[in-house]
Every structure is written in C-alpha cells, then in structure tokens.
Assembly symmetry: C2
C-alpha cells in the first residue's frame, strides 16, 4: 500500500533547461544559451557527489549553482559580473512546470499525500512552487537530511518525516539514477518520461525496474485507485 | 519588511478542545470530555520543557500525547484500553480550523509565503492540513530543529529553512509565551485572539508587545499591504 508520493523536481516537474537558457539569453552573457544550460546542469551530479563524499562542505543549491557557474565561465573564458551570476543562480527559482504537472499533482493529491523530494533546498522549492502555483501537502528536501540523493538518508529522512515506512512511499522521477537510489532505500518508484528535458536531442530513457512508468502524470493517478 | 509568515497551529489555527472532547465522548472513556481535554492539554508545556531540558528524550507529539494521556488516566483512576488511547492520540490529527482560517490563510498566501511553525511533528501537521484542506506553502515544525518552542532554535531553524532573516519572519500565534519566544529569537510577531480556545470560560489574553494584534486572520492580510 502506497501512502504517500514524493516528487523529484528539476527535470521531473519543472523544465529547467528552457528557463535557464532564457535567463542566459536575457543576461547578456556570451555563448549559446542552451549549450550553457546543459553544461551547467552537467556539473550538478559531480558537485553533489563531492558533498556526499565529504570532499566539499554542505552547500545549498544557490551556493552550488554559483560554484559550478564560476567553473563553467572560467573554463570557457566567459566574462560575467557578480550581478549577472546572481541573476543566473536566481533563474533556478523561477522555472515553468511541464504541462501535465498542474492537473497531475491535483489528481494525485486527492488520492495520496504528495510532497517534493528534491536535492534543491527548501527555500528554492518554495519559490518554485509559488511561481508555478503548484500545491503540495508539504515540501521535503535532501537539505533536511544533509545528504543529497541518491544517498539513502535523503529518501529515508523523507519517509520518517512523513510517518510512513519506506515501502509505503513512492518516488516519482524522470531519472533512473534517482529511482535506483530510492529502491536501494526501500521505496517504491514511478518513472515519468520527460523526453524534452534536454531539448530536441534528449536521450531516450526508461526504467524497467520501476513499479510504474508513465508519460503523463494524471496516468499515475488513474493507477493509484485503491 | 516581512517576507514570510509562520503560524502556530494548535489553538491558533485549529480548535483542539472541541475535537479532543468529541473524541473522548465517542471513545467510551469515563469522565467529563471537556475537562479531560483541558487536563490533557495542560500537560503539554511541562512535557515539552522536559524534552528541551534534556530530562526526556526527543519524542514526537504522538509519543508525548500518549505519555501525558497515560499520566492523566492513571492520576484520575480512569480505565482505557490501548486501542482507546491510540484513538484519542489520533484525534489530534483531525481537528477543525477556526472559521476565519481558510479565508485568512488564502488571503495571506497571496501576499507572503505562509508556513506552519508548530511543535507538532510534520506527519501530524500534514494530516491536519489535509483534513481541513488548508493550503500552506510549506510545513515547518519544531521537529526539524529537534527543539520545541519557545526554544530559540525552533524559530531560527524556520527562518534558515525559509531563507529569510529572523527579522523578516513573522510568527502568528494566539499564545503570548510563543510570541515572546519568537521575539527573543528576533522574529516579528502577530497576536491573534482566540477567545474560545478553552471554551466559554477562556482566559482573556492579549500581547501588548506584538507588532500586530487581530481578532480575525483576514485583518492581518489587510495590514500586510506592501
């Protein structure tokens, strides 16, 4: 019996690439906006791994995005002022949801408790939820465990705070590495296809080990009928 | 500038006394339901103080309610089965909001970020919010600080997680001791009168040190116009 759902956010619920590319375009920073967005995002998992391994002190997403942006600009020899950098970091607070997300979340919320479970910090998730008018029963973040997904503590802390057993909690995500981390912690998993996450040339993904696989969030609500 | 509001929950947003008395009445446990509800609630601050002082290990509200109910029943010589006790503890998960709360929260949410800041644990707050269909931007609890209000850490953890300075955060509560704790932590405060919290004979309360005092939550939204 699944008693609650937790949702990955970046890529799963919101389209980070379009929003970040738009911010690069508006910023006046040189370079191809989509390429810069992809490069920036590619630096995300390595820096989280550094934190989880203790090689880097805890930092929230604003701090980590600032650091990875600085690396990116330095490596590419691109100039940007501190104000431009801050504006780009802020862009991650105002992203648009995929079109199925508002109706899907609403339908799911009537069936189960729904929460975020993002590596993004709570204040960032709050800005995103308010910006996109998304209603969750509560916001949960890896910040509350001080361990980033896919570390088991991130998933287990969410289950503990929701008052459910790991096997009663389902992670909904577009990323097999995240779903695999959740399964290692004992959670149930639902894969949601986001074929446009990286734009037209996105890699085709699937997760054969997921309990559910959908291409449209309201489908998941239809499957949770009990 | 106030950037976010956090709300005390029990007594401030929901009417614990009517709901708990109703549960006693329905439980078959002997005794006057309102008197038992008041006696149970009166044991709340002393047991939280024991936890904050380190005299008792951390326990969430379900555990603490179970302990204080056992003390109450033993002292009064009242019999109750474990199932009856659990049912009474569960009653704290399904309480009704005061009538101004749904419109007040909705009006305030359009002006500022709104969150709970209760000594109740997150899973309990989630049940209450779902039961009463109350929309918060996020749920925060003293559980996240592992220190109960009025300990400063409870308020300061909320400000840190919301990404605001203590002076940018306002606690809304019906209890002067809670508002005083918030002020000691550097928060702004709003007193909301709940003249029926303890039924017809409730003590008259006021908080002359609060930044705002209202008798109806939508009033507070009218005062936060900037």
């Amino acid at each position: 019996m699944i008693r609650a759902l937790v949702f990955d956010v970046f890529g799963t619920l919101v389209d980070w690439r379009s929003g970040v590319a738009r911010a690069f375009r508006a910023s006046g920073v040189a370079g191809n906006p989509e390429e810069l967005a992809d490069d920036w995002r590619a630096r995300y998992r390595p820096i989280l791994a550094e934190v989880n391994e203790g090689a880097r002190p805890w930092g929230n997403f604003d701090a980590l995005h600032h650091a990875t942006l600085s690396d990116l600009l330095a490596e590419r020899g691109i100039d940007a002022s501190e104000a431009q950098r801050r504006g780009l970091v802020e862009a991650w607070h105002r992203l648009e949801p995929w079109p199925d997300v508002p109706p899907g979340l609403e339908a799911l919320r009537h069936r189960r408790a729904v929460a975020t479970l993002s590596n993004g910090h709570l204040a960032l998730l709050l800005d995103l939820a308010r910006h996109a008018d998304l209603r969750f029963d509560c916001l949960l973040s890896a910040e509350l465990a001080r361990a980033y997904k896919p570390a088991p503590a991130a998933y287990l802390t969410a289950a503990r705070l929701l008052g459910v057993a790991p096997g009663e909690l389902m992670l909904v995500a577009a990323h097999p590495w995240d779903l695999e981390g959740a399964r290692r912690a004992g959670l149930r998993t639902a894969f949601v296809a986001r074929p446009q996450e990286y734009g037209p040339g996105s890699p085709v993904r699937a997760d054969p080990d997921a309990d559910e696989s959908v291409t449209w969030l309201p489908e998941l609500a239809d499957r949770l009928v009990d």
